[in-house]
């Protein structure tokens, strides 16, 4: 019979954690942490480590987190070389310590990409994503009271596909897992979300060209079809969105090339 006060299984861990101040070179620090409950989330384990450091009068480790329920996209951390850790389709905050072994050495480091410079320890500057969104990740509508929902019919399969893409929480694991530091999965998800809905049609080509241009300027790499992003995405976004991004980009470039200036050419008549 299970007793109510039965002691929980705990782990003793060796942690190699990245310590870095902005613009300075960083290094790994090693810490031992005992009595980590297997039911704790990875972030709760990091909290335990920080409490231990505070009690010893040492500096804590900085890391990003917010909702801790897998939907905000704030938590990051590369765990044993894998963004969001060893479980596919899961964010760091929803990764639990039961997925690790007693006595294991766990390496914790920030997202690694030129476009995501380290601010402190595990916190990186992800504003490259914000710039991409500002350049086209929206539809232009007059705001005010909510419009009648059924004014614009959206076929169910299209709504489903857009929702699948809209699952992207913009955490940056695609960039961190990509061996090219490419943001194509993120941009593809946003393009897929907006470009297939009727509300997104008016700005479709402008959006696609602007978001790709901003992505390149923000210092992200190019896609060479490794597929690592899909394998590490906590929302399991597929490479389909990248194919769709390529398709829409080609379409927009061709249309731009043959676009009318609205004026007769000089000497043409």
């Amino acid at each position: 019979m299970v007793q109510e006060n039965e002691k929980e299984v705990t782990l003793a861990l060796k942690l190699r954690v990245w310590r870095q101040r902005r613009c300075q070179p960083g290094a790994f620090e090693e810490h031992a942490l005992a009595a980590v409950p297997t039911s704790a989330s990875f972030l709760e384990m990091m909290d335990m480590l920080n409490e231990q450091l505070i009690k010893a009068g040492k500096d804590t480790f900085a890391f990003d987190h917010d909702c801790r329920e897998g939907i905000c996209g704030m938590c990051s951390m590369t765990i044993n070389g894998m963004p969001h850790g060893p479980l596919p389709g899961v964010t760091t905050c929803q990764l639990h310590m039961r997925n690790f072994r007693d006595g294991e050495t766990i390496t914790v480091e920030p997202w690694r990409a030129r476009a995501f410079p380290v601010l402190k320890d595990m916190i990186v500057d992800r504003s490259g994503f914000d710039k991409v969104i500002q350049s086209g990740g929206f539809i232009t509508v007059r705001t005010g009271s909510a419009p009648e929902a059924n004014n614009i019919p959206v076929p169910k399969p299209v709504a489903d596909e857009a929702m699948d893409a809209a699952e992207c929480i913009g955490c940056g694991a695609c960039v961190a897992s990509c061996k090219n530091g490419s943001a194509m999965l993120f941009v593809g998800a946003k393009i897929n979300h907006l470009n297939i809905l009727p509300q997104g049609q008016a700005e479709r080509d402008r959006r696609t060209l602007a978001m790709v241009k901003t992505m390149d300027e923000a210092g992200f790499g190019n896609c060479t079809n490794y597929g690592e992003c899909q394998a590490h995405c906590p929302k399991s976004i597929t490479l389909d969105v990248i194919a769709k991004l390529n398709r829409d980009y080609l379409r927009a470039r061709v249309k731009e090339f043959f676009s009318s200036t609205g004026k007769p050419s000089k000497g043409g008549d």
């Binding site: 061996k179 090219n180 530091g181 597929g227 597929t238």
Partner: protein
């Protein structure tokens, strides 16, 4: 990468098919070679297209590799790979070996300045190929290069579809399979010649 790669992937199929005429006897391959040289205009259009494609493919490839290395900024301390295939991760390396092979191959059979011991064959392509592959190191270099070409094609041909936006999750594994099959067909077709000469089947 995709468009130039498509031209080059198409070329190797044509080249490989022509090579197989070697097995039909000296007359067939020599007639085919003569037919090619009789259509000098078309031949030069094809050659120029190939040269431009190769140069563009290499140029974009170098740019892509340098940009991507810089964007990665070193990567994590102990990097884990979940899905990226060996072929996809070794594209620059297989590419460099294939380039070295192309240079050697042109000097060997087109300009005939290396490894043939100053022999002249005139229009007898058949005799030239048999003599060319009689050297074991040369034949082995050809075989290894063609296996690397198979690796290169197995990633490249499927990627062409992704870059042009003509791929989805349903078709991805099928196209990966087709690309691998295409790579093997090309490689085995090419390898059959040095192998046949090495084993004495082709004299």
């Amino acid at each position: 990468m995709a468009l130039t790669g498509l031209v080059l992937a198409g070329f190797v199929l044509g080249h490989m098919s022509g090579n197989l005429l070697m097995f039909k006897g000296p007359a067939a391959i020599n007639e085919y070679a003569k037919w090619l040289h009789d259509h000098a205009g078309l031949l030069w259009v094809a050659r120029l297209t190939l040269i431009l494609s190769v140069v563009a493919h290499i140029w974009v490839g170098i740019q892509l590799t340098l940009e991507n290395r810089a964007a990665r900024a070193g990567g994590p301390a102990d990097e884990a790979t979940r899905r990226a295939s060996t072929a996809s991760r070794t594209m620059p390396y297989s590419g460099v070996v294939i380039l070295a092979f192309i240079v050697f191959h042109l000097l060997h059979f087109t300009f005939r300045t290396v490894a043939l011991g100053g022999m002249t064959f005139g229009d007898d392509v058949h005799a030239m190929v048999v003599a060319g592959f009689s050297s074991k190191p040369v034949a082995v270099f050809y075989i290894v290069s063609m296996l690397l070409l198979c690796l290169h094609l197995s990633h490249g041909v499927s990627s062409v579809f992704q870059t042009l936006g003509l791929r989805n999750e349903r078709w991805r594994s099928r196209l990966d399979g087709l690309a691998l099959a295409y790579g093997w067909i090309i490689a085995l077709g090419f390898i059959s010649l040095p192998l046949a000469v090495l084993t004495g089947c082709l004299k």
